[in-house]
């Protein structure tokens, strides 16, 4: 006769593993987003300095300077959209890992 499946054991194991998986996924995403935002700000600071100097020297007109500032605003909007996209990718990766985790845990415990 076949041994009964221990669902409590499966659920307990899954609870721990899913919590770990969620923690790792979120930590990775937050670290990447933070690094990306810092790099973006640093890059923006350099550009503002350069454009101001070019304006002062007369290499850029006021109109061109304003155009470039506005282009930076558009890049900020694009960067925010990219982060929303990366967050969605992480969610899909989490879902995929979750399915693998469930399959592996069930088979490890049940041993079909």
């Amino acid at each position: 006769m076949r041994q009964a499946i221990d669902f409590t054991n499966i659920l307990d194991q899954l609870k721990t593993d899913i919590a770990d998986l969620a923690k790792t996924t979120m930590k990775g995403y937050i670290n990447d987003a933070k690094k990306d935002a810092q790099q973006f700000l640093l890059n923006m600071k350099d550009k503002l300095k350069r454009w101001t100097e070019l304006l002062a020297k007369g290499d850029l007109t006021t109109d061109e300077f304003v155009w470039l500032l506005s282009s930076q605003k558009d890049l900020v909007e694009m960067s925010a959209l990219k982060h929303a996209g990366v967050a969605a990718i992480r969610i899909d990766q989490f879902k995929s890992s979750l399915l693998n985790l469930i399959v592996d845990t069930v088979f490890d415990i049940v041993k079909v």
Binding site: T61, W67, L68, S79, L81, K82, G85, I89, D92, L99
Partner: protein, 155 residues
């Protein structure tokens, strides 16, 4: 490992892939979209260099480029769950904003543009293309990752 066990696991992995693909949040990686976006970046920056010469003298090149970008835009628009990438293209191409579309509109309006301004605008437009390319490159590769994992775990 027993064949029966192996087949059952494969069945479950394939079912998982099926479930996963039907509930995705964002489109998967697309090599064509990635290649086209990087190629368009090179074309766009090269075209912008011509803005020191008259807009009308560059009409053919500008029309050719617009046709290429429209084709890529249409392709992106019809990929499922690809709204974010389409929004990114909308911003780049919008003549009322200040990236590629705005640059071309300004070129048309002024007929020629200054070299310093072109160089700075190229940096901005280049970064805009990079955002699209970076997002695409981070998307999940549709190479049935789970099948690969399954096969490597059960050698």
């Amino acid at each position: 490992m027993e064949l029966k066990h192996l087949m059952l696991r494969l069945g479950i992995v394939l079912l998982s892939i099926q479930i996963f693909s039907s509930c995705k949040t964002i489109s998967v990686f697309d090599q064509y979209a990635y290649t086209q976006s990087t190629a368009l970046k090179v074309d766009a920056l090269s075209l912008m260099d011509n803005a020191t010469t008259g807009f009308t003298a560059n009409t053919t090149e500008i029309e050719d480029f617009n046709l290429k970008i429209q084709k890529v835009y249409e392709y992106e628009k019809h990929r499922p769950k690809n709204e974010i990438t389409v929004k990114l293209w909308d911003i780049i191409m919008n003549p009322d904003k200040n990236l590629l579309g705005g640059f071309l509109a300004r070129w048309k309006q002024n007929n020629t543009l200054g070299k310093t301004f072109i160089n700075e605008a190229k940096i901005q437009v280049g970064e805009a293309f990079d955002i699209i390319v970076e997002l695409e490159s981070q998307k999940i590769k549709a190479s049935n990752e789970s099948v690969s994992n399954f096969l490597s775990n059960n050698k």
